[in-house]
Structures are given as C-alpha cells and as structure tokens.
C-alpha cells in the first residue's frame, strides 16, 4: 500500500501541474499540505456480542452481549498530506480535498469486563481456568479515505479560514487478533466492515511566503460506527483438560469511532 500511496500522490501532482489558480484568493487550482495527522478516536462501544457459542463453550458462555464489556481504539499519529483542488466556482472559494497518508495502524483495546474478567470463568459451575483477556485485543491497518468540500471564508490578512464537510470511509485490512489468550489455540479471523462517516472540517491556511502555506486542519468524523467481527474464537481451558480448549464462536463489536483528526502541515499551491 505504500506503493499505492505514492502512486496516488504522483498522480495528484501531475494533475496539479495542469491546474490554474483562481485570481481572487491567489490560489492555484491544486494545492498540497504535508505534515502530521493525529487521530484521536472518541470511542464509544456497545457491549461485545458473542454469537455461535456452540458445543462445550456454551456451558461457560452464553451467546449475546457480554455485560460490561467494551472495545476502544487507540489514537494514532502518522504523516499525511492534504491535497486539494480548487473548483472554478464561487470565486474559487470552494475546493475538494482529500488526505493521503501512510496506512493508519489501528489498535483495538478491550475495555471493561472484557479486559478484566474471564469471558468463561466456569462451566457447569466448574472453574475453566480461562483468564481475563487483558486490554490487548487486535489491530489492523486502515486506509481512511476522506473527501471533503472546503469553503474558504475569506482572507484575514495571511490567514484564510475555511470550513468544510465531506465523507469518510474507514477501510481496514490485515486485521488480526493479537490477544495472547485468543491466539493461543488457534488463529481467529478478525474482520472489520467498511464504515462511512460524515466529516466536519475547519481550519485555516496561513500564507507564509508566496505560495507556501501553513495549514492547521481539524476534522471530526461523525456517525462512524465500526463493526468488527472476530471469528473462530477458541480459548484454552486449562482447568478442564477434558476439553483442552473451547470454541467460543464469534464476537461482534460495534464501536462508535468518531475520531477527531488534527492535522498540521505546510505546503504549496501548485
């Protein structure tokens, strides 16, 4: 994917070279702001839901929500580039932007009872020996394409504030469970559905020198609910060697990600 990202960036650069800036705000048609992106998920998860709990595991675990359980995403900071194209309308105040970045490494953490208590403490009243999972749950690489429409509000000296809105799709790949208890017996299948979010954006460009600008950008992605599934869950039952392990089935997690993204960058109008 790194190659893919570079390819996209190259294509954008080539396209930008053919663009012309709008005279009113002295923008060129194409611009880029490279810098640091910090994503801070405002996670709010529902209880993890177990399904397909068949066989011996059903003696210890009931299908359905695990009371008090939760999942959260860790924040991440990556280098990123905002690439924009000024549309020739409304006196060049409107542009379309996207963010190009290295893949976003997303870490899922267990919270609440999922982290602190065994999901299968007893079977028929007999201790299973299955320990609490701890916080480590899984991770994935994410490509969160964002497309926003940005409207420049005007110029306040060197500062050009703007506001925008758009859509974001959270696409993940290479998702994997990393919890040592869940991976001790078998390799669970971790899958995160693509999810759509509404992007609310604001920020400002600060003209530094000629076509060089400093960009402070804030995005809040609303209504982004990640639906993750871990299948083929099998845990060791050290206190019941008769079973040795139990197939718990699958777990589904619905997580409101709603990240706040802060991006600082510097770039040029091309």
């Amino acid at each position: 994917m790194t190659k893919l990202t570079r390819l996209v960036f190259l294509a954008a650069t080539l396209l930008a070279s053919t663009a012309q800036a709008e005279p009113g705000l002295t923008y060129e048609r194409l611009y880029a702001r490279a810098g640091i992106l910090h994503m801070s998920p405002q996670s709010d998860s529902r209880e993890i839901v177990l399904a397909g709990v068949d066989g011996p595991a059903s003696l210890a675990v009931m299908a359905g929500p695990v009371a008090g359980s939760g999942v959260a995403l860790d924040p991440a900071t990556i280098p990123a580039v905002i690439v924009g194209y000024v549309l020739p309308v409304w006196n060049d105040r409107l542009s379309l932007e996207t963010v190009l970045s290295t893949p976003l490494h997303v870490t899922f953490r267990a919270t609440g009872t999922l982290a602190d208590m065994s999901i299968a403490p007893t079977a028929l009243g007999i201790p299973t020996g299955v320990p609490a999972l701890g916080s480590e749950l899984g991770e994935a690489e994410a490509a969160p394409p964002i497309v926003t429409a940005v409207y420049r509000l005007g110029r306040l000296g060197p500062v050009i504030p703007y506001a925008g809105a758009g859509l974001n799709v959270l696409l993940t790949y290479n998702a994997r469970a990393t919890n040592p208890i869940l991976t001790e017996v078998d390799e669970p299948r971790f899958h995160i559905d693509p999810s759509l979010g509404l992007v609310l954006q604001t920020g400002a460009d600060v003209a530094l020198w000629r076509r060089v600008h400093l960009r402070a950008d804030f995005k809040y992605i609303a209504f982004m609910k990640a639906h993750a599934t871990v299948e083929n869950l099998r845990v060791r039952t050290p206190s019941i060697p008769l079973f040795e392990s139990a197939e718990v089935g699958s777990a589904t997690m619905d997580l409101w990600v709603n990240p706040l993204i802060v991006q600082l960058g510097i770039g040029v109008d091309l």
């Binding site: 003696l59 799709v169 790949y173 998702a175 008769l242």
Partner: protein
C-alpha cells in the same frame, strides 16, 4: 482529475481483496463415534441390541460392512438403521453366552473398517466347576482398573463365572471382604448380590492412593455347592474428586430441550422389552431429576468422573403386559420405578474412536460416557410390583455427552436383563437421556415403606423348608439396615435364625442359611425397616410356619421329568420312547423326547428326597443321576458336563454347553434293585429307595425297581418360554398317597367324586370318608392331587382351533409335557346282595396322554379380557394298589377325557396361577369282575367344576435357582 475523485472508491473496491477469507479447516472425516458395547466390555447381555453410531447419517451405507465375528466366524445379524440415519442397530439370536466377539463397524462404502470392538457376552448359567471372578469393575480381575478406572467413590461391581449361592454371599471373612490394607480393617459397605453379580458399595469413599484388597474366600460357592478358590484382588482407587465434588443436577430430556441431535436412536428415554411371551413392549421414562456429583476436572488428566448417589429414582410409564403382545394378561404394572440401589458412576472421556488429540466436538468427536449402576425395579401396582420387583445389578451403559446451549446432555444406551413375569429373562434395551438443569429439583421421599404381601403369607404353614421367605414392600428398603437387626427371623423358642437378607427391588428375601426343619413355627420381626432416605415404617411382626411332614414309608417317586415321562419306560422303539412300566401293554407310546439347546433338565419328586443320594456321574455309568451323551443304541459316549441344582423336592441339570441338535442324550435316575437305600441310588428323605414304576405299586415295599431312563435328542433353541407349573397348595405333602392327620385339606387341587350309581353285580356303593363338598346335597369324596407339568408357552397363533372345535382369532399355544398326577386314596364301600366290601383306591396315578403325532397342547385365549387356559386332557387312570377281595377292578390304564378351563392370574406374591376346572361332568366307571362271570360297576362322576387344579409357577425369588 476524475481519477483522483474516484480514488476512495477504487480503494474501497481494492482493499477487500486483501482481506480474503482463510481457507476452511479440513473437515473431520465421517466415522464411528459410538458403539454399544464399548471396546473390551464384559458381561454384555445376550439379547442386547448392539449399536454403532456415526458422526453423519451414513449408517445405511455402512450397514453392509457391519460384522460380528465369533470363534466360529461371522454371526448372522439383523441390521437396521436408527437415529436419523446415524446409527446401526444390530440384533442377533446367534450369540452364545460367555463368548468374545468382535464387532466390526462398517465403513461408509459398505466395507468393514476401523478397529474392531471386542466384547464378551454374559454367561449366567450354572457351570460345572468352581466359580471364578471374571470381572472386577468391568476389568480383568488380574488387571483391575484397566477397563474401567476405580475411583474412591466407585461401587465395586463383581461378575462371577456362574451364579453364586446367595446363602453364602456376605461381607465376612472367608466369604467376601473389602479390606483396607493400611488400617488392616474391613471396610463397611452395603452388599448386594444377584446371580452372577455382586455389588459392594462402601459406606464412605475409599482413600485415594491407598491399597485395598478384595478378598474372596471359599465360603462362596456356586449353586451346586462347588466352592470358589480363595483369591485376592489388590487395587488402589484413583482420586477422582480431589475432595471437591461438584454437584450437578440432571433431569430427563424432554421434547423441546436442546441437543435433539444427540439422539442416536429413534426415541429418547425408553425401555424396550422384547420377549416372545409379551411381544415388544415399550415404556417411556417420565420427567425426573437425578442429582449427581462431578469429580475434579484435573484429577484424571482429562476424563471426569461422576457419581450418582444411591437412593435416587426415575419413573417410567407402566408396561403394557399383553401375552404374546396381543392377549390381555390381567396384569397392570402401573408406573415402574427405578431406584439406584448403589452409588452409580462412571466417567466422561474423550472419544476413543478419534485420534487422542482430537478436541471434542458434538458431531465428529463427541465426548463419551460410560456408566455403571445397580438398579431396583419395582411397580406402583401391588400385584405388578410383586411380579416385577427385582434388582438388576451390573448394568453397564455407554453414551454420548453433548454440550450445547448451556446444557450438558447425556444419552446413554445399553441393555439389561429384566426377569419377566417370573418365567424368563427379557432383554431390555434402554435409552436414557439426561440434560443438566441447575434449577431442577429432585423429589424428596418422605414416605416410609410398607409391607404389601409375603410369600408364604402371614399365618400360613406353607414355608417350604428350603426356600426363602419373600417380603413384598412397596418400595426398596435399606438392605444394610435390615441386615443389622432391622429384620429378624426367630424360631418358636425366640432364638434368632441365621438368614441372608437379599434385596430384589422392592422385595426382600429372608433366606435361612441352612434348610429349616419341617413343622416349625417362626416369627418374622420387622423392627427397623426403612428406605434409603431413612423413612422408617412402624415395627411389626407376623408368624409363619413350615409345613408338617408326616412320616411315611412310601418310596419317593417322580411327578415330572423334563424331558421325558415320569416313569420307567419299556417297549421303546426307533419311533417312540415307549410306555410306562407297569401299565397296560396297549398303552400309548410316548413320542420321541427332545430338549431345546438352552433348556435344562428338570425332575420333580413327589416327596422330599435325600439330597446326599443325588450324585451326578462323573464318568459313564456312574452316579445315581447320570446324564450322558449316547449313541443310537444308548451306549454312553461321554458324560455331559454341567451343574446339578438340588432342591428339596426337585433337581435341575444345566449343561455347560447347549444341547447339540440331533445328538442323543440319556438321563438315568438310579433306583436300585431292592428296597434298601444303597450308595449310588436315589432315595427319599425317609431312607427308602426311589420307585420309578408307580404303576406296579405305590406302597412301602415298592422301593427300588427299574431305573428311570429317558433318552432324548438335542433340538435347536426355540423362542418358547418354559414354565414349570406345579399343583399348589399340596395336601399330600409326604407323597404317601393318603391324606393323613396333620396334612392340609385345601379347596383346590382335588377331584371331588360323586357316586352316580351302580350296575350289574354291584348294587350299592358309598364313600366312607367325610363329605368334602358339604355345599352339595350329595356326598363327595375328594382325591387330593399332586403333580407338576412343564409347559412351553409358544408364540402367538392366529385363527386357533380349540379342543371343542370352536375357533378364536388369537391364542397362545401351551405345549404340555405328558406327565402324571398323583392323587390320594379314596375309601368306599361297594357291595352286592347287601354285603358291602370296603376298599381304598390307594394312590391313584393319572397319566397325561399324548397324541401320537403331536404334543399335548393347551391354549391361552382371551375370555372377556381374562387370559384363560383351555385344554382337553386324555388321561390314563390307575389305582395300582386298589384291591377287592375275590374280585378284579379295571382302574388300570383307564381312559378318561376331561376338558379343563381356567383363568391365568397373577397372585399378590407375584406367582402365576392357572386355575383349571372341568367344564363338564366327567364320568368314571369302575368296573368290577367277580368269579363266575359276575360283573358290575360303580359309576362315579366328577361334577362340573369339581376337578380343581391350581397350577402355580415356582416362587421366583425365594426359591433358589
């Protein structure tokens, strides 16, 4: 620019390709996941339905490859598919007792595949030689714990090579001892014994890791008195609970519960009884709860032990007992209760049909369960209980455990032998489905037991001196409590009579350890009788006595011989067995005698015999009782090995090996040539040698004479049920042929004779004894009858033609052996010209006649819902000792015809009674010839209903086998 605009969509489309699903795991191949019996299982009931169950519905494809291989090769099988196509049910009538077979499960392609399952069938017949211990908790006694582990909570199940004499089975030094080596003490335990099975249930758990010894002494003996060679089995129980048993509650699986896929047969929770006598009957296990204890999950490194504490009960629907499956039996069992007599238990373990490291799953590698327990079976209906009550020891079930939807479901399957109506053992296939349910609550038993009946009944003088006394309770009692003073037998002087207290379901047998004396009074005290839950009944007591035996010098004879006829035979030929010695030369010849492969020889005497005079020959032409394989001329080829089961008035012989069809055999009872009882002769308890030619005389000087020799041919086994019925109660207890003071005068088993007139020379006749039917204006004299008739109840027959020519849609044919009945003497005076000649008939002999071309048959038919036996008997009547001065009588081989009919009923003691009565008047004309050509007759009749024969089956539990 359009390319950039579409970038997100492109990415969205491309990324899922990177998230390709992992390839699915290789599915486990279809295969066998369960068998009954399990590999290595011993003591598998002969009629058991064998099961092979697969992970998938491939049974039909696998059926062709299914084999049961014995020493003689493949066994004929009847294979059917059950359990939604997952299970093969295999039945075979060709399995032999005590034989190891290999069950080879079929592969999906119809070929035999997989390692064979080896199992050994039950052998519960007496055998020649000393009994041996053949299984200790399911394992080879030399390697205890290898087949089924022994836990600290285990009930110790013992299986012997042949039935033990119950009088000798007790927890005592020299008999049976469970011995703690470390403390050098005997371990207190509850002991149960039945036939070849013994169960020892320690009162407290054993100490894991400690060494125990099971000590078997030579006080143990088989039914023929052959003693066991002392042996010691040393074992160390495993720690299965770690001191932390986990209580689990199970209830019977009900429709709508989870784990329906568990079912490996077509119906859960059923007991299926299959026997020709009643056809195929199914009882359903009703909702019930069992509390169990699971062992420590870590203790055994995988397998989990469990225990089902004793005293718990399940109930099933009653058995619809219909004779041959179609005729009403008149017996209602009501609900049938099953109680754990000892702690049941077993273990849950991984599926041995899959590689050892296979993680259990419900379909392809389900957990297996082995379960062993001892049961009391009894019924809610009082009569049904008396008939059905029994202990079934050594039950071994195998099953599958399946966990799903939060519950652990267990289906166990197997077979046990149910003693059926007291006349046969019926293979019973059981399917028991349980499911864990922490909220289920077991019923609490708060009701004390009560005594419903006894055999003999309280206050009677009918306790046979060599039999046990049966106490029929309405529920099982705590046998250990009864043994420790709870039940006592006292003699007339108040001394305690040593007894063994046997548990037979809800019935208890008090079996004196030594035969009782005749004519003695006893008192039975129930001082502390309680059920296992501790509910004690009020103390009570009753009196009972053994019958008086009036001294007689009349020699012993036989009342019935099976196979054969009860007399010395003469004039045998290639096509007949001859006729009775002393009878008329023109008497019917008996048909050739046969004996089915699995039948036993039975001889019933008419008075007590001297047991020591019965010696089974160990070589050709030796012994007072000789059972030999012979050639066609009767020359002994070899002695038939087997066991002689001697009772006070009868003897049985069980061969070690089934009779071989077509082979010739000979039974000889030696009477000796004179009137003295010598070695090698069969004698009565009165010291007189036996007489087997009663037609030549029945008086004191008739002892000795020709031997009783019965030649017979082995025949293939039949499905008929052999039933030894004998007249009861009996008046002429000492077999003297006379009713003597002190002997009872029952209202049954007597023939009332009435003088209807005289003719010819005879002009007057009258009885000189008392009128035995005072209700009639006429005077009747009674002959009291004693006899025994071996009969075989066959399979149902449709469109039966009865003796009177009528037909009924269905009947059960009863093949009766042509035996004889002896009746007591009648005194009368007959005379002419005013001169009366007093005479006595002496003992009369009534021989049953056979048809020349077919056996004597009776029929059990449905008469308004009552099973009724109908039979037309052709008899020869003889009065060998009747004599009149100067005149001759014709009571020799006098032909009589009598039609009898009567209901088959079950008594409160569980015995079957057929109360036969003559349906029409029976004329008996006694002709008298005097010198000078003078003749006359006394015309007697037996009024309708006044020939009363009550044929009663033997006491099933009180009597030794």
């Amino acid at each position: 620019m359009r390319s950039i605009a579409h970038l997100p969509a492109v990415l969205a489309a491309a990324l899922p390709a990177c998230l390709a699903e992992l390839p699915p795991d290789d599915p486990m191949p279809s295969g066998v996941v369960f068998t009954y019996p399990i590999d290595g299982q011993r003591d598998v009931p002969l009629g058991a339905r064998l099961l092979v169950s697969f992970s998938d519905p491939i049974a039909a494809e696998a059926a062709a490859g299914c084999r049961v291989v014995g020493p003689e090769g493949n066994v004929d099988l009847d294979v059917s598919v059950l359990g939604q196509g997952k299970t093969l049910a295999i039945r075979s009538g060709a399995l032999e007792p005590g034989v190891t077979y290999e069950l080879r499960a079929g592969g999906a392609g119809g070929e035999a595949s997989g390692p064979p399952v080896r199992f050994t069938t039950r052998s519960d017949r007496p055998r020649h030689g000393s009994p041996t211990l053949i299984a200790f908790n399911g394992s080879d006694p030399l390697r205890p714990g290898t087949q089924r582990p022994i836990f600290e909570t285990s009930t110790l199940g013992l299986v012997f090579s042949e039935p033990l004499d119950p009088r000798r089975v007790e927890l005592a030094a020299g008999a049976l001892e469970l011995y703690d080596v470390a403390t050098a003490t005997a371990v207190p335990a509850t002991l149960l014994a039945s036939g070849i099975h013994v169960a020892i249930d320690p009162d407290e758990p054993l100490t894991p890791g400690a060494t125990y010894e099971l000590r078997l002494g030579d006080l143990l003996a088989d039914l023929a008195g052959e003693r066991l060679a002392p042996a010691v089995v040393s074992f160390t129980p495993l720690d299965a609970t770690g001191g932390r048993p986990s209580r689990q509650v199970f209830r019977t699986w009900q429709p709508g519960d989870t784990n329906a896929a568990l079912t490996r047969t077509d119906a859960p929770n059923v007991m299926e009884v299959v026997h020709p006598l009643i056809g195929e009957t199914i009882a359903s296990v009703q909702p019930g709860v069992l509390e169990t204890e699971l062992g420590d999950t870590l203790a055994l490194g995988g397998p989990i032990a469990f225990r089902i504490p004793r005293g718990q009960r399940l109930v099933s629907s009653g058995l619809a007992v219909a004779l041959a499956g179609v005729l009403p039996s008149g017996l209602s069992t009501g609900d049938i209760w099953i109680e754990m007599l000892t702690d049941g238990g077993g273990r849950i373990h991984r599926n041995p049909h899959r590689p050892a490291d296979t993680i259990p799953d419900n379909q392809h590698a389900p957990l297996l369960v082995d379960l062993s327990f001892d049961l009391a079976v009894y019924a809610a209906d009082a009569t049904g209980n008396a008939v059905l009550a029994q202990s079934v020891l050594g039950v071994q079930l195998a099953g599958i455990a399946s966990a799903d939807e939060g519950a652990l479901a267990i289906e166990t399957l197997g077979a046990l032998d149910i003693d059926l109506l007291g006349v046969g053992a019926a293979p019973t296939n059981i399917v028991l489905d349980l499911i864990s349910d922490p909220g289920a609550v077991a019923a609490v038993d708060l009701r004390p037991p009560s005594l419903a009946a006894s055999l003999p009944a309280a206050g009677t003088r009918e306790w046979a001196t060599d039999e046990g006394l049966e106490l029929v309770f309405d529920e099982p009692i705590d046998a250990a409590r009864a043994r420790t003073g709870g039940i006592r037998l006292l003699d007339a002087g108040g001394a305690v009579v040593p007894i063994a207290v046997e548990s037979h379901g809800a019935l208890v047998v008090l079996r004196p350890r030594a035969p009782l004396a005749a004519g003695r009074d006893f008192r039975v005290e129930l001082n502390d009788v309680a059920d296992v839950s501790g509910n004690a009944m009020d103390a009570r007591a009753f009196d009972v006595a053994t019958p008086s035996l009036v001294t007689t010098d009349v020699p012993l004879s036989v009342a019935a011989v099976y196979p054969g006829a009860p007399c010395s035979l003469v004039d045998a030929s290639a096509t007949s067995s001859g006729r009775c010695s002393g009878g008329a030369a023109g008497d019917d010849r008996y048909r050739p005698f046969e004996l089915g492969a699995l039948e036993r020889i039975g001889v019933v005497f008419d008075q007590p015999m001297r047991a020591s005079s019965l010696r089974l020959g160990g070589a050709c032409n030796t012994g007072s009782m000789r059972i030999e394989r012979v050639d066609e001329r009767g020359t002994c080829l070899e002695v038939v090995a087997g066991s002689l089961l001697v009772h006070q008035r009868d003897v049985g012989f069980v061969p070690d090996r089934p009779w071989v069809a077509g082979e010739h055999y000979q039974l000889r009872l030696v009477s000796g040539g004179d009137g003295t009882c010598a070695a090698g002769e069969i004698c009565g308890a009165n010291g007189k040698p036996a007489s087997f030619d009663r037609l030549a005389g029945t008086t004191a000087n008739a002892g000795g004479g020709p031997d009783l020799v019965i030649r017979f041919t082995g025949a293939v086994a039949t499905t008929a049920t052999t039933l030894f019925m004998a007249t009861g109660p009996v008046a002429d207890l000492n077999g003297s042929g006379r009713l003597e003071p002190g002997e009872p005068r029952p209202e049954t088993n007597r023939v009332a004779l009435r003088i209807a007139g005289t003719s010819g020379l005879i002009d007057n006749a009258s009885f000189t004894g008392p009128d035995c039917v005072p209700a009639t204006p006429e005077v009747e004299a009674c002959m009291y009858v004693m006899g025994a008739i071996p009969a075989q109840l066959g399979e149902r027959r449709d469109d039966c033609r009865l003796p009177d020519g009528s037909r009924v849609p269905t009947c059960i044919p009863v093949t009766m052996s042509a035996q004889a009945m002896y009746s007591t003497s009648v005194a009368m005076t007959a005379g002419a010209f005013g001169i009366g000649l007093p005479t006595e008939t002496g003992m009369s002999v009534m021989r049953l006649r056979e048809h020349p071309d077919r056996p004597l048959e009776g029929y059990i038919v449905d008469r308004g819902g009552v099973p009724t036996m109908i039979v037309a008997l052709d008899l020869y009547m003889d009065a060998p000792d009747m004599s009149l001065p100067l005149v001759q009588h014709d009571l020799r081989s006098k032909s009589l015809n009598v039609s009898l009919e009567g209901a088959l009923t079950f008594g409160p003691d569980g015995r079957i009674t057929i109360g036969l009565r003559n349906v029409g008047e029976v004329p008996i004309t006694v002709g008298i010839e005097a010198p000078l050509g003078l003749s006359g007759s006394v015309n007697l009749i037996v009024p309708a209903g006044e020939m009363r024969l009550d044929l009663v089956s033997r006491s099933r539990r009180g009597r030794l086998p």
